[in-house]
Symmetry: C2
Subunit: 413 residues, 2 copies
């Protein structure tokens, strides 16, 4: 199952038009590493002085590219991001480290920049050696043809099992300067906190230092990419990078994330990350329904999040929703198994805004037929109050359908 299979019924109508961002040029190529007749390499070229921030998988078996990026994040500068789809260069031992060194070396030579300013990401099959020669062979022509308006091609080049390409954009204002944030992402299976086979690359012309970008990104990812799950499985390769070219400025002294002049930018960043994260869920393997789960009344936010994920990762909840069945007993079960404090006898559940259970039992006024139209829709809304504290969290997932099994019983990813 590769890119190009039937488009998810939850896909947005069309890819948004992304404006150019000064200091960013994008080029794509066909390396032939795994796919035929499609682009599978993206090079994002960044003007000198670009600051970078990143968030990565917490997997203990993370890939060589993730190791490389994490090691080089502290210096805070980037001149290029190199992405390939089809081979994750994960669980490839010393050979995988050499592959990263090989492609980074070649790209830094072509750009005349320090190796540490090249960031890499790979997605696809695990455990197969990745031949750097195939990638290196396309780098020079890709740089040559890179342009500022290559967003759609870039979003397409990084896809694996995705059924549609994913992009989002937002404007913000920092102290009178208008700035743009563009993002592209890929991901459709192995999606869970922290992050899944999920790649996202965000670009802005904002003039902000790397430590501020990092803090804003970390907070934003927590409420977006780290609040989604498709199957509870976490990838070895998850990478989110945010590059700021510093062209919309210059500003100085914006080194505190609490600075009120950052509010608009922070909101726009949250908008882009959540938009992209929800597009990933909408492309969840086999997904036919998008499910939002809000938990309130938990001990704290962390507990609320764990309860919400216990619901969102429950195969029994997800298959019930696939069958348009408002099976709230399974939600009760999932709350119980989360291990977090919950007052069984004060538990309340609302689905589609309708009270289903309260005071620890079925709502006497609950009429299942009134819920049918909501359950048959594309977007399911579950709200649970567990009655013990002020903690709240929202997570998003999709239903579990036959197509998930079709896709994953045959695809070697």
């Amino acid at each position: 199952m590769a890119a190009g299979s039937q488009r998810s019924p939850l896909a947005p109508v069309a890819l948004p038009q992304l404006p150019e961002i000064e200091g960013v040029r994008l080029g794509v190529a066909e390396s032939g590493v795994r796919y035929r007749d499609r682009s599978d390499v993206l090079v994002a070229l960044l003007d000198p002085g670009t600051a970078i921030a990143g968030c990565f998988t917490t997997s203990k078996t993370r890939s060589a590219p993730v190791d490389w990026d994490k090691a080089n994040l502290a210096q805070g500068r980037a001149r290029a991001i190199l992405v390939n789809a089809g081979n994750a260069n994960a669980f490839t031992g010393a050979r995988g480290v050499q592959t990263v060194a090989g492609t980074v070396g070649e790209l830094s030579r072509l750009l005349g920049c320090p190796r540490e300013e090249i960031f890499v990401a790979s997605t696809g099959v695990i455990g197969e050696p990745l031949d750097e020669a195939l990638i290196n062979a396309v780098l020079a022509p890709t740089i040559e043809q890179a342009t500022g308006d290559g967003w759609s091609a870039a979003a397409t080049a990084i896809m694996t099992t995705d059924t549609f390409s994913k992009a989002a954009t937002a404007f913000a204002e920092i102290a009178g300067h208008q700035v743009t944030i563009n993002g592209i992402a890929k991901g459709s299976g192995m999606i869970a906190p922290d992050m899944a086979t999920m790649l996202a690359f965000l670009f802005t012309d904002a003039s902000l230092p790397a430590p501020v970008l990092q803090e804003l990104l970390t907070r934003s990812v927590e409420r977006s990419f780290n609040a989604i799950t498709v199957d509870g499985d976490t990838s070895t390769s998850d990478t989110i990078l945010l590059a700021a070219t510093q062209k919309a400025g210059p500003l100085a002294g914006l080194d505190n994330v609490g600075d009120p002049r950052l509010r608009s930018f922070s909101r726009a960043l949250d908008q882009v990350t959540l938009d992209l994260a929800l597009q990933v869920v909408r492309d969840g393997e086999g997904a036919e329904k998008l499910i939002a789960i809000t938990v309130t009344g938990a001990e704290d936010a962390r507990a609320a999040r764990r309860i919400a994920f216990a619901i969102g990762n429950s195969p029994l909840v997800k298959t019930a929703i696939a069958g348009s069945d408002a099976n709230w007993g399974r939600i009760v079960m999932a709350v119980g198994k989360s291990g977090e404090a919950a007052d069984r006898d004060r538990l309340q559940i609302r689905i589609g805004g309708l009270s289903v259970a309260k005071n620890g039992m079925r709502d006497p006024d609950y009429d299942e037929s009134a819920l049918t139209p909501h359950m048959r829709g594309r977007e399911i809304d579950i709200a649970v109050d567990v009655g013990v504290g002020p903690g709240r969290a929202t997570v998003w997932t999709c239903d579990l359908t036959h197509r998930y099994i079709d896709i994953n019983g045959s695809y070697r990813s």
Copy 2:
């Protein structure tokens, strides 16, 4: 989907013949609570002096029957176990507590015993009030017709989505006295530690005090019922009870589980609990393959168990195995997401005894075609060494197939 649907391809050839156990009589009845034309109530009558031990779900939303049993376990004696299938009496608030009081009250009146010596278990739909009148109406005739050889009927009466009835038996010897252990169980979905919609009732004529029984049972359950998973979902109602009628004796002074005279009994108990637990996995909803996962080299046994469950609960691993695909990259992913210490560069994976990966990469000698016969079989064996310590654990699960979704997209359980 109720009892009687197509028998799991992993089912044992036939139900074993269980011998009678002195002091145990079994009766079944049709209450009509949910099912038509099948027995759905079991009463196990126990002679005076029977000792009892139990293990229960750790769910925070546990059912009223579980609350009742836990509260009465400490006194250590039992005269009857009352089980009904079709309605779990879970998430039924104060009404559910009254239902338990109602059935327990009636049965204790009929038997002339303290209410605390009646243990109850309910399985089936969550959140629907259970009408105790329907159950009370059948108690007197059920007691009347109870016999010592009713094991097969008992195992059938407690089924819900099970496709076959489950029983096991073993002999042991305690200080020269031969004793028998019989067990029956039900369960096929919502199976995970700790225990799932899993009911198991064990009976022995051994003459052992309740505290010794409890310690032996707790240890045995840890390596059996708490080492299986079908879907990672934990039920509100899991109950395992072990009743010892004290007829094979009398013995005295056997009050220490470390006593070597208990070795044979402990082994036989482990044999029965593991046999029943594996029957539950073999009846996992939609299961077509039984998967054993052994993790070695973990920090400690707890870490090994968490890694093994991360593999066993991974939808990506389970769908790959459903497709007979030796997709070991997904095993690497699952090890990584467990959060437990693992040395990526020393990781070893064997499937069906064949080395697939070692030293953190694909085994150079690995030939996928050699694994095909194993992957196409009914029993899949996965062994993972994570290279950091002495911890080891084995867990069992089944594959994730289209039938799981068929069953759970429509059944209101």
